[in-house]
Homo-oligomer: 132 residues x 6
Amino acid sequence: MTNSPHDTDRRTRALALLERLEAGAPARVTANLDAFDVDAAELILGFSFADVVGRDGIDIRTREMLTVAMLGAKGTAPGQLDFHIRAAMNCGVSRQEIVEIIYQIAVYAGVPAAMNAIASARKAFEALETSS
Amino acid sequence: MTNSPHDTDRRTRALALLERLEAGAPARVTANLDAFDVDAAELILGFSFADVVGRDGIDIRTREMLTVAMLGAKGTAPGQLDFHIRAAMNCGVSRQEIVEIIYQIAVYAGVPAAMNAIASARKAFEALETSS
Amino acid sequence: MTNSPHDTDRRTRALALLERLEAGAPARVTANLDAFDVDAAELILGFSFADVVGRDGIDIRTREMLTVAMLGAKGTAPGQLDFHIRAAMNCGVSRQEIVEIIYQIAVYAGVPAAMNAIASARKAFEALETSS
Amino acid sequence: MTNSPHDTDRRTRALALLERLEAGAPARVTANLDAFDVDAAELILGFSFADVVGRDGIDIRTREMLTVAMLGAKGTAPGQLDFHIRAAMNCGVSRQEIVEIIYQIAVYAGVPAAMNAIASARKAFEALETSS
Amino acid sequence: MTNSPHDTDRRTRALALLERLEAGAPARVTANLDAFDVDAAELILGFSFADVVGRDGIDIRTREMLTVAMLGAKGTAPGQLDFHIRAAMNCGVSRQEIVEIIYQIAVYAGVPAAMNAIASARKAFEALETSS
Amino acid sequence: MTNSPHDTDRRTRALALLERLEAGAPARVTANLDAFDVDAAELILGFSFADVVGRDGIDIRTREMLTVAMLGAKGTAPGQLDFHIRAAMNCGVSRQEIVEIIYQIAVYAGVPAAMNAIASARKAFEALETSS
């Protein structure tokens, strides 16, 4: 069994979705993944974005809300939480909706998880205000 | 400082929302909490439902999707995941949307978390088909 | 390097503390661990109880409160949470103190963790009332 | 974008690996996943087994040791831990190696995680002795 | 249903407790929370400190020990662990008691969690020695 | 019961293994632990390395693979993950094997855990290339 199926179309679809989450993200993320391993971009982005997040059935705006909620509740990937709060807002999620998700994180994962998410959100709010 | 603020209105609002999540839930949940401690229902349901989940800003249908995502991603409260999948569907979330949330859990929290959520979802699907 | 240091004194001290946590526990726990591996009781109970929990510096009553808080906050070992709520009460922790710890779990680990701990506590309260 | 790529080969390869992990598992697992959603088997088993665990670079015996370590350390999927301890042993991991992995779980994830894994291991040891 | 109950007394009681945990903390924490959302201070600090941690039944010194244990065991909020080790010591918890709690974290959550807590504790020890 | 068993041999064996994981690590790690508490090095390193990781039954190379998998899957100790990826490679684990472990982390703990591990791995790859 070879380790490199190289399904070009899957990678292309994943990167198109990633570009929609944040302009310029595909170049940065693939540079990171390609420097790690030749199969990483397809395996990881392909599964995440082409196979799952790009599916029909839930719109991307709601999907990003779900991702923010999950990353905030788990609290183990602060860099990705920063990214997905910005991505959610790039998909049309409002600042007030981010606030509401974080209050809900306090209920389902505790106040420290919410405090971490507040730090991420404040950075994202500032980054998006500066860029607009 | 007394431990029993007894804000009757807060309890009432929390139970009204809980009834909307699943008909009959308030009696069952308050029986459990009241047997534990006299302040439990107000403190826990009051914070969860009156203070946070009952807020404006995100509709209850989307909020239950977020809760399913968080409980599935954390994987530490299977009984509550069972409940909130049923609650989400009682609020209008479709079976296909539950499926999509669980695929997204696989991406952000791993396949074992998704497999646990599939077991919860299958029980919920069956319970709701039987009752309808 | 041999895998069997067999520090008899360490095992004896660990079991003496375990007996104080719940009368009869040493026989049950060592039966389980000995059936798993010959070194398990010394390695696991020795580290837990002889090396750490049996140390001076914090009394056993407070230590069991800390253990209940940690197990409740993590939410991944329900059987051990059941045991340590009973053990805490056997060391003099009151029912009301268990209640307070669980409310504090709600703050620092979220409401679902607290709900799981309430289920454990209600079983422990019942077991201890029946036995007294 | 359609939700059903139906890459038959990917499903076939995944099920072949699953059969190697435990004889008869493919029928049971696909029955569960197919009852949940038409795409579940390919998405979840395809990613897990065809895309990742079936890759070259680490042999299946070592991979199953890694899976047991991860599931034991996380402690949130007891049913899957049961399965993968059996699967590891079906791939040639010895009973003593399972014991060693669980001691290492105690170091890196704490004693309660190890105690849960001991319960899983004892069930697996019994199941495999009975079947042999 | 309005989102701004503005229970002034609840906020006041929460901040009084926070001031006791660390002199000057209320100004810093409310500045952070107010910049995030107008309701954050009351919802989050009100639940944490006025509703729960400020309750009778367990003294604040023991409560801070419980908080350090929970945050250390979870390992997902290093900034809050830093704060609560200082807060515990401000409430009379001794350096040796912090050491004992961290050894107990090693048992119930593993050595890496204890190593993270040691890093937090060393910073807190230094900060408090410098300030005294 | 005294808190200072001072089993010199146990400390010596632990440090010998630590030196094998990374040349120079014993001095750095014991400086950190000794500054925290006089018993820390023996309790924590003794349990980790003399009692468990130094045992027969699984070779150190495979044990370090297991540790990388567990730390990556839990995602709560990034500094220790950095260290153990370097340690694994110092024990003969290849760069490609680290890559494979991280893909397996994506399956069993989710993509964000894998992304964090990729950041750790890239730092380790660079550090080891520079030093060689």
